[in-house]
Symmetry: C2
């Protein structure tokens, strides 16, 4: 039995896992993301941690298939990052640098695509080869697995579903510079934005108040039967469901996995998305399953490990 | 050097090609599509034609890598068709049946995806690994190649871009049963539909008349500077360009190839799509190239041959 490492690089911490090739997670740990000097310490820090773990487990290098790495940026098929705002990287040949630091095979992917691969391997999409993962956090991330492979795309920007335009009449500008992006309605921030607009019109007969409002409060109110909260959830669900129907027409997934903080609202969130999805989905795509992510914060290390085993 | 066959099954004729593995087309020919008995003769007819050609070229079976087949229906990764309206097939294990008829390796794909693969191999997308092909004919077909592979999807319905919803306010129903599908605006039929609506409002100062109107007439009038024809082309371009910006956000292609009868309008058609695309594309996708298909009716046999060489 051989071993491999899955690494999930985030802005504040780097999650790492040592796996057996069959997917057994032997140990997981974290190291701090040192952002000084344009984050130039990140790759050497990972290399050092991998080396230490190889010694600790008395493995030889021949027993290690390699290291898979997920990073919060577009990544080309060759493992190159062309700028990563979260880490301060500009052009960086992550695969080449890491291979020369460790002498091990390295593969690199975008963190959202890598998380999708993790859920396909050992999570909510286990056994499937065609999967879309939607990560509803501060933004809307997307990961696509097609025919068992994570999609990188020509510029490493495959799966950027948060920046599909879903409202051509929107006036407010998205972080990307365009207007009407899915992220403006379906992220935690987007849901709060919808809610505040709704509450401007009518803030009676609801437990919700604009001040310090969170997406969690909206869905808690939905569960308590608050009518205005339900209308806000419907608007979110329409944008998300319609966008997913178009995504399904393009990539035809077997399962759509919902992860990220907002998805902790649970099954009720899926219900609000499913109805508009079914109204608009192409007939061949209506059988798609909507499920909640199962691996939580570990999806990244699982998917990164799978990346090296592909 | 080994050889392979590329087969493109259509409703009236079956196009066939004998290729060398390097992509040289040695000979192409057609046989009639016999639709009697639920088209049960199609596969035996192909097998017979392949056998005859093997004899004619004095090949041995060991010299033949296999047969790639494109069919006008969703096809699963296992080469199964679950109904094909154009041919009258219901459930059909095309790969298995054809392998048992010929003793050769067989792979089967959807015709639009296969054509995209052909353009990637030897046509307008040569050298690229990430490509979207849009076929503008009676309908709007889509073929996706991601990481060098044609996308089948979970139900064989990958690339059905003609059935993305692009207008949630549309009242008229598409052939698929939904409303507002891209196909209702961007196909030959769709362009005529847009034009007729436009001419209802104002049929003065234009060479176009509603009677027997064709998409070709619309683009001919555009080239002649007809203002109303230009407005019709703009409406087409907006729907198509905005849909492609969303497709690019999902699969991040390097190149978008336009084929099918409507694309014979040439570069001017691309100009009308490019502008709204650029207005809406995610920044990482703005460098995508728009090109006209190069293989014409041969894209299917080239792509089918490539299917077997993958």
């Amino acid at each position: 039995m051989k071993y491999c490492f899955g690494v999930d690089v985030g802005g504040t911490s780097i999650k790492m896992g040592l796996f057996r090739e069959d997917g057994d997670l032997l140990e997981k740990w974290e190291i701090v993301t040192r952002q000084e000097n344009h984050s130039d310490e990140i790759l050497p820090d990972i290399a050092e941690s991998v080396s230490a773990k190889i010694k600790e487990y008395r493995l030889t290098r021949e027993m290690v298939t390699g290291i898979g790495i997920g990073v919060p940026a577009p990544v080309t098929e060759d493992g190159i990052v062309n700028g990563c705002a979260n880490l301060g990287w500009e052009y960086k040949e992550v695969k080449r640098e890491m291979e020369s630091l460790t002498g091990l095979l390295v593969r690199v992917g975008n963190d959202a695509n890598v998380a999708a691969l993790g859920e396909m391997w050992k999570g909510a999409g286990a056994g499937q080869r065609n999967l879309v993962m939607v990560t509803l956090g501060t933004g809307v991330g997307g990961g696509l697995v097609v025919g068992g492979k994570a999609i990188a795309g020509a510029h490493g920007a495959g799966g950027e579903i948060g920046h599909m335009c879903v409202n051509y009449k929107e006036k407010e500008v998205c972080g990307c510079g365009n207007s009407g992006c899915l992220e403006q309605y379906a992220s935690a921030t987007g849901i709060v934005r919808i809610a505040k607009k709704r509450l401007e019109g009518n803030s009676e007969n609801t437990v919700l108040t604009s001040e310090n409002l969170t997406a969690k409060q909206v869905f808690d109110a939905v569960k308590a039967g608050d009518q205005i909260a339900c209308e806000i959830a419907e608007e979110f669900g329409n944008y998300m469901g319609h966008a997913l129907a178009n995504i399904a027409a393009i990539v035809d997934p077997a399962v759509i996995v919902f992860g990220g903080g907002v998805s902790r609202a649970g099954e009720i969130l899926l219900d609000y998305v499913r109805k508009p999805y079914q109204e608009r989905a192409f007939f061949a795509d209506r059988a798609v399953k909507f499920v909640l992510a199962e691996l939580g914060n570990d999806a990244g290390i699982y998917g990164a490990a799978k990346l090296i085993l592909e």
